[in-house]
Point group: C2
Chain length 333, copies 2
DNA sequence: CTGAAAGCGCTTACAG
DNA sequence: CTGAAAGCGCTTACAG
């Protein structure tokens, strides 16, 4: 292992000079700087991450906490992971992936041992059991998903209420009077996935204002139950002219289900939904939809987290709801 | 920050005694050990990861290198990530996720700075540009995917040749004489995804031995091209009685395509494929298939990597091909 | 069974 | 513009 002392010796300067040349934290004469750079390249020197972390109390690593629930939709989760990793890298940070079942313990483990400078929490629930551990940690955090109590927390999420209103309005404006809503599975509600009821309740409320009839149902998240439940729901409401699908697994399965039923969109049924734009690469999703943005959400969370790391007392906590945007793909009439 | 000196002071012993109590690397009297444990719990002490890494030259972190190509199938990739992270955790390691575009530089960066004790490489290609950086690294590696030159490398992959033979034999034994093969997209071949041609070439060879006619085609990886290409391929070979799909995106899209075409499996067409068992949770995949095993593959790779870390000179390099297993789901006749 | 001390490889006030 | 030295928080031979 070539270390900073080797470089210093090769150049004939002190270790501190090499260190300052590395960090730029004090002026170095052009000549010594160049000789130092040359020696570093020559010897193939790289700063030892552990030593630097020990000296500076900064690891340049962020923890990413996720839990792969059964109802999680793999493509969505992967998109979050990639977006967060990329955003972090752009700011000079690496990502420590934590998928432990016991998130609270994992947070305690990586923060108290100083393995990370901050933490990103995915899939935050209403009463997220990981939050107490987070509050005790020295390091700041950024959440994706809305907890009940947002005090002192930086939170990022889609504006699901707004998205629901946008979609209900869209159907209402087109003249639909009876619609079906396919929500996430019941156990998403049970475990506190606030996005599920935030969307549903806002949709129901808006529909009531419009005098619309809405049949709200839990969808499923795993095949073959997804198809079965979609068929059962559609069977039960043959007179409905529109459907709002707020359920990744269900919207992915919908095209095949509708083909099998001989239902033509939008002639026989209008369909609107809510999913990341690039799901369309993996699935055939020709539906008018509000675009959730795992990329944007992940990126904003990371940026805010890094801001906090750099300036721990940098302003009040933020709760940011991404504004929903509707993309019309002609699946409504 | 409470450190080991604080614990030592609280108990009235030396720092080394606390350290040895922590590691168990030398006998400690029961009484002192208990008082140390109590003090640790009391003060909420946790070993500082950076300091330990510096002292031991071990980080207990593994690097996981992946690149999300356009042709990558999200559910498959996520499964690898989760399997590897879980397997690592069971052995006491955390995962540093690296998704950089320039894998070689990233390897150089995390290994030379000693951020990781070893590296897992996903999606290894025939002439993988990351391998030179790997050979230069102090840390050992485990590859998932077969490179041209496996010297000194621990490599894990499915036995794609065996899988191809198994599927060809299966169709042949049922009396099929003309079959279609849907391979990964052309650019997977171009960039050196050896699994693509290993499967195809073995299938063609076996078919020739049997006197079967095989129409081999590149499939696509992104919608809507996936459906379009499947339809074109099926149109072109209406007389074929069986199809082998070696392409995640295509097999996921196949049920909808066949419904649309009015093709009933296996009455009109026999279908066999190759995909991870639990794709069936996300997609409706009622097809007889060889089960690829991202979980098993990832786990074996991690276990071997950790073995190497613990015993750097521990035996010759291994190239392990997982034996293919056929699950009959009745999609052939 | 336990302690004093060197060392891991950095950074950064302190001095000049 | 540069150097000598303390310190970050551990581990582990060396001694007893």
């Amino acid at each position: 292992m070539v270390n900073i002392a080797d470089v210093a010796k090769a150049v004939g300067v002190s270790r501190s000079t090499v260190s300052y040349a590395l960090s730029g934290n004090r002026p170095i004469s052009r000549e010594t700087r160049e000789r130092i750079d040359a020696a570093i390249a020559d010897l193939g020197f790289t700063v030892n991450a552990g030593a630097r972390a020990l000296a500076t109390s900064q690891t340049m690593v962020l923890g990413l906490l996720l839990q792969f629930h059964d109802d999680e939709f793999p493509p969505a989760m992967l998109q979050y992971i990639l977006a967060i990793t990329t955003a972090a890298r752009e700011l000079g940070y690496d990502i420590l992936m934590i998928t432990d079942d016991h998130g609270a313990e994992a947070i305690q483990r990586i923060t108290s041992s100083n393995m990370v400078d901050g933490v990103v929490l995915l899939d935050v629930t209403h009463e997220d059991p990981r939050l107490p551990a987070l509050m005790k940690a020295r390091q700041p955090a950024a959440l994706v998903g809305l907890p009940r109590d947002t005090d002192e927390l930086d939170v990022f999420d889609l504006d699901f209420e707004g998205a629901a209103r946008l979609l209900v309005d869209h159907l209402h404006d087109l003249g639909h009077r009876e619609i079906v809503l396919v929500s996430p599975p019941r156990h998403v509600f049970d475990r506190g996935g606030a996005y599920a009821w935030r969307f549903r309740d806002a949709a129901l409320e808006r529909a009531a204002q419009h005098g619309l009839t809405v049949h709200a149902h839990y969808g499923e998240s795993q095949q073959p139950a997804v198809e079965r439940s979609l068929n059962a729901i559609l069977d039960a409401h043959a007179q409905a002219t529109g459907v709002i699908v707020h359920n990744d697994a269900s919207i992915a399965a919908l095209p095949a289900v509708l083909r099998e039923r001989g239902t033509v969109v939008p002639r026989d049924l209008s369909v609107v939904s809510l999913y990341p734009r690039n799901f369309g690469r993996t699935f055939l999703l020709p539906y008018t939809a509000v675009e959730t943005s795992p990329d944007g959400l992940g990126r904003e969370a990371v940026q805010q987290l890094v801001r906090r790391i750099v300036a721990p007392q940098g302003g009040p906590s933020v709760v940011r709801f991404i504004e929903p945007e509707l993309t019309d793909r002609g699946s409504t009439a």
